[in-house]
Symmetry: none
Subunit: 135 residues, 2 copies
Amino acid sequence: MKGISRRNFVKNTALATGAASIIGTAEAKPAKELFVHHVYFYLKNPSSEADKAKLLEGLEKLSKVPTIRMVHIGVPAPTTRSVIVRDYSISWLCFFDNLEEEEIYQKHPIHLKFVEDYSHLWEKVNVYDSVGPKR
Amino acid sequence: MKGISRRNFVKNTALATGAASIIGTAEAKPAKELFVHHVYFYLKNPSSEADKAKLLEGLEKLSKVPTIRMVHIGVPAPTTRSVIVRDYSISWLCFFDNLEEEEIYQKHPIHLKFVEDYSHLWEKVNVYDSVGPKR
């Protein structure tokens, strides 16, 4: 009897917790957030097409990290207004559902291998992480 | 004769350039492009919540420019690694189908009105425009 009661208690608690977290999600943040991670790569040899191709190859592999919701790989556009920064070589933009998912990405074996295999190509990276409502 | 030759030269060059870019579009990039426009706003009074709210109000209006495909408005995330730039106040990220659509946005009355009404709030903007395949 005690065993059954305990089992039921655990079962009911689990259900209640599940329900609470669903309600909690609905109440505390009615709009979902989106975590934007934007990296600008500055290559050691910015004029080397081979190095650029190599980094693009690496980024293609990196795009397989499962918590990435959307990814865009780009190069500076031909726009040239004075406020435009265009001294980087490659833009790497990705979206995550939240900060925790981005942290999983940072520590993911695919990401660690990417840094190990390709970081010799870049001189520096400028990273902008921003959060705001998903629209 | 010299005038005609020049005219033909200009005309042929224009055609050749046009053809090359069309062939380029068809062959080199079978996938569609995506134009990423990312603006980081540095407010004159970064500690003023009122100024931040005012700029957010302006950006909400700006988001109505019809050529914008996707928009995200954010603030610096709590991530603090050394490579992360987090001295700006507001991140404004939007996607366009191509450079031409972004140029329409730049000249759109909604955009011009936004600059007119809200540019007194910021000290500077850093803008990154990048292009790459749509995935």
